[in-house]
Symmetry: C2
Subunit: 275 residues, 2 copies
Amino acid sequence: MREKSRDMAAQQAGRTGRATAEDNAGTSRRRHPDMHTCEHCEARGFNMCNALDPNELARLAAIMSDQRFDAGTTFIEEGAPADDLFNLTSGTVKVFKLLADGRCQITGFMMAGDFLGLSRGGTYAYSATAITPVTCCRFQRPQLRGLFNELPKIERQMLGLAMNELMAAQDQMVLLGRKTARERIASFLLALSDRAVRRGRPGNPVDLPMTRGDIADYLGLTTETVSRTFTQLKGEGVIQLKGNHGVDIIDLDALVEIAGQEDRVACFHPFDQIA
Amino acid sequence: MREKSRDMAAQQAGRTGRATAEDNAGTSRRRHPDMHTCEHCEARGFNMCNALDPNELARLAAIMSDQRFDAGTTFIEEGAPADDLFNLTSGTVKVFKLLADGRCQITGFMMAGDFLGLSRGGTYAYSATAITPVTCCRFQRPQLRGLFNELPKIERQMLGLAMNELMAAQDQMVLLGRKTARERIASFLLALSDRAVRRGRPGNPVDLPMTRGDIADYLGLTTETVSRTFTQLKGEGVIQLKGNHGVDIIDLDALVEIAGQEDRVACFHPFDQIA
DNA sequence: AACAATCCTTGACCTGAATCAATGCGGCGC
DNA sequence: GCGCCGCATTGATTCAGGTCAAGGATTGTT
């Protein structure tokens, strides 16, 4: 296996390698001015605020601050004190873990509505880097904890989100443990397409904000294999590459066939999953 | 890749291939007689009943039934209507997903305190087979849902459990996507050992209730590779095999080193993770 | 517009784990 | 106590995907 040096790993993790939400350039933060933003929030409808009425929303808004991160900013670092919790409102974030020698596994690409900041023993369980410019709501843990007791709805909503993530993680385990490179790429494209549709965007020209290297780190492959597989699928007339950050699905049925036709259910029934 | 036939896959999934909790031989079910069992429950202390007082426990006990499954019984089948939710009280269960051609990925080995029965759109998101004889509490979803509203504590407890599972799933993604066979086996043994300790059992002679094939399906390897790697580690004096279902860790430091020394934190702070 | 820095693609070759193929072993039923 | 059957081990060989290496295409910058 090819070892990336620790330096490279740090670089890869973010421009400064020690970047935090606080000390980064290209970061803006302000107290939330009013509920107006919440009501026009891109993420309303599929995030943890979904079930709240305007009054409750105001209480939530009171303890949070809006934040913006430039592309490339690592605003969560595995092992750092997990002081805050983030709720994405726009942009794409890669969540990843590094091994000591620099090998990287991206565990997910997060988008509007997803929450970030899972902690294990008081420290973050993973790192997170903005792939595009990102906006999010930021909560301090103690304050959010307090609100949990008063608004159990939030807790329930989060349980639903957590369950969805857990199921996605299990699908990803199948992909990583048992699928071929070809199947992984096909599954990945379909999953991105489905996710876009679920968020009310067009599902076909699939948007790929991440690099080939990111895709590789997500699918347990190398950049070269990702690239070769794209080329192969293009040659077969299944997809068409739209520059480096877009893919046109030409033959959806073929892609589904290649992916291994597991159940691709658009799932977002917040509580249904639990009880 | 070697394709297992569909028949084999079905067989592997359970003795009958169409076994459900209802129609299985070797399955016993009865209404919960009193709280006595709950109070002596092997799983108290790390399951979803943990935070309940005796009165609340009684309400939970009222809507559940005790159940027992023989080793080899598949009592949850992916895609079947997700009517029930299970909470393990003893024994070991493998949770897995099958691809159309029979390839299998085990997403987890469940033990006392773990819950089972995650659903996606009203059907089970995975299959589950008892590896050893198993006892568990069984809940019907509608009834449990009702109780959620009255006892939000349960919901919170489940959120904690779900978060823990999510973090374990992320660790597993790193393992499946980026670790070598050697590292996977070492990590697996250490994880099993840690889990035993967390459940108040000895961490050293590691108990392996599952077969080599199960381990392979969990680690994204083949039976042969698992076997060879065990043999190799034995040859290096790192472990000692105790028959087919036990491993003695001789050189813990070496094993940790081989595993890739990621943070092995014993984590069970139910809510800490969220807020 | 020219440049630099990344990112992507393609080719040649290598290797870790899969596959194919026997052979050992141990627990269980009779 | 004996024989069987599923599980585990071990060996020989293959191959999917990784590694190494060289250009080519984008993107952002001055």
